[in-house]
Symmetry: C2
């Protein structure tokens, strides 16, 4: 492999001048520039990223920690980051934190060790103290997305779970539902709390409170959706609508409803969260709340690039709106002999 030395010799200039051409900074006369470019082409020279990084202390790599790259949600986010990073001539190195504190710590350390210029962190656990220390020392800018608190974040991108959940709940209420179950994700997630607040706000607007619906806590998984729904149906509780913590939960819930012979939305309405790839492929199409995941990823990478370029005029906190996607899984509840007021309330 040709080195910068070979190029400089061939072009009859010093290494410094070649360096100026590659990095495209400093003054170089047109003549020498042409000579150098010719030499580069002839030799098939490619700058050595390691040597560059060692010397300049930059790697042009953005490190990203997500919960699990293999899952569509995060994969899309990473895809967005790649696009944003590419525009700035940077690459993305991803590590999965598997929502486990030590794995997350491990992932971050790995990225720091690789001299990532900046980090995008989607964590599910509070940062381990030693990791906080190391990030601080390394002076690496950090963009925190959603998830848990992050004391080292230079900026934060945050999906508007509050409004998303509020809109979803409002849709159910506006349709006349009053016997509603919310299959919530775990309380360790900030998302969960925010969504609960959003749900509370929607209920309040209808003169109700969280106590008036049935909240079940579990996790963001299909099996939770299935089990919780099966239990719900078995309990004999009147439920005309289910709000699932996310689309995976909704998929499980849907399966349980179908197995129990319930029609959707005639017997039970169902609404999800995320607008996963499969949401529209469920039958009926799942009404849900879209989180603009790819866009969030792109934004994170772009923000980081700007920060790295020395642009400090970054808002510390950005909120990205969600969008209600109406498909076929929500309808009006059937007349319910057991609760007269539900008819009265349904305009």
């Amino acid at each position: 492999m040709a080195t910068i030395n070979d190029v400089s010799r061939r072009a009859g200039v010093s290494r410094a001048t070649v360096s100026r051409v590659i990095a495209d900074n400093g003054y170089v006369s047109d003549e020498k520039r042409r000579l150098i470019e010719a030499a580069i082409a002839e030799l098939g020279y490619r700058p050595n990223t390691m040597a560059r990084g060692l010397r300049s202390n930059r790697s042009d790599i953005i490190g990203a920690v997500v919960v699990e790259v293999a899952s569509p949600f995060y994969a899309q986010m990473v895809g967005g980051m790649q696009k944003g990073a590419r525009a700035a001539g940077k690459s993305v190195l991803v590590a999965s934190g598997y929502a486990v504190a030590d794995d997350e710590a491990h992932a971050i350390l790995e990225l720091i060790d690789r001299s990532c210029d900046g980090l995008v962190l989607y964590l599910e656990n509070p940062l381990r103290a030693d990791v906080v220390e190391i990030i601080r020392k390394s002076r690496t800018p950090v963009i925190a997305i959603g998830g848990s608190e992050c004391p080292v974040a230079t900026a934060r991108i945050h999906i508007d779970n509050f409004s998303g959940a509020r809109d979803a709940m409002q849709l159910l209420l506006d349709n006349g539902h009053r016997d509603i179950a919310y299959l919530s994700g775990g309380l360790m997630y900030r998302d969960t709390h925010e969504r609960l607040r959003g749900i509370g706000a929607a209920l309040e607007a209808h003169g109700l409170g969280l106590d008036d619906i049935h909240v079940v806590h579990g996790d963001f998984s299909e099996s939770f959706g299935f089990d919780a729904t099966a239990r719900l149906l078995g309990s004999g509780r009147a439920t005309t609508a289910i709000f699932a913590g996310d689309d995976d939960v909704a998929a499980g819930s849907l399966l349980a409803l179908k197995q129990a012979g319930r029609r959707i939305p005639e017997d039970v309405s169902l609404i999800g969260f995320d607008d996963n790839f499969h949401a529209r492929h469920l039958t009926p199409g799942l009404t849900t709340v879209r989180q603009p995941v790819d866009e969030v990823g792109r934004m994170a990478a772009e923000m980081l690039s700007r920060i790295l370029a020395g642009d400090i005029s970054q808002p510390a906190e950005t909120t990205v709106p969600t969008e209600l996607i109406v498909r076929q899984s929500v309808g009006r509840p059937a007349r319910q002999p057991r609760r007269k007021e539900s008819i009265a309330l349904a305009r």
Copy 2:
């Protein structure tokens, strides 16, 4: 940030000895080792990967090019690679090639420039000649997965599309179907050809040939599935079973069938390929062929690690089996007045 110099000074040894401890090679007395480890801990020393890489010409990074990280199929594959790489203490740097020759070339060059120790390539286009040259020169080992030819591959992992397609077609034939449409992916993919061969083999075993079914060429997309199926139905052609090129195509096909009021599998049977996440969530559950994508990713990373460790006893070519996943979308065709032999043949 502390350097190896700080550590050596603090421990009262030479840098070389510290290096031996970090890299865990060469002889170091227990006493000095203890001293060094203490110094490392006290200083919070972390080796600089760039310096290391520059000197040793290894990066412990595996580069991967897939079609598109954001898509669930490749995301899972990358997830598998991460797992395999992690076991060997390596990281995975992913780039997307978007199935565009120049993007693929660009992605590979980027990974090579980053001094990846090895590459895992899932490409959809023949390698550009200059890229072949550069990979050769860099002497980077390459694992090629599926897709197109790759003249620089050290080893090849290959999903058994032939058997998968053969099994799927056989299922249809065994169920008594004779009026079958195959909604194929593009002919530029090796996968497509192999599946066609598999289909041919199944047909042959039943005394038939490819001419006896209706093959439509398109791409691996939901919209192709929808359009092709709509056209099929509009043509008045008798079709009792549709074999979709992949599960996305199947999803589109299913939608078109439902919109046309066809019952699945009573009126038309449907089979897919991939076993995507949503395959089981379609209604009815989609019978399909599972490709063990994550496992392929893991294998690729492990193989590469072994090759990098100097283990040459690698089989040059590995084939990973597919698995027929039987759900509810395939059944026996209804009696067909138009073709008596289809009843006779169905044992």
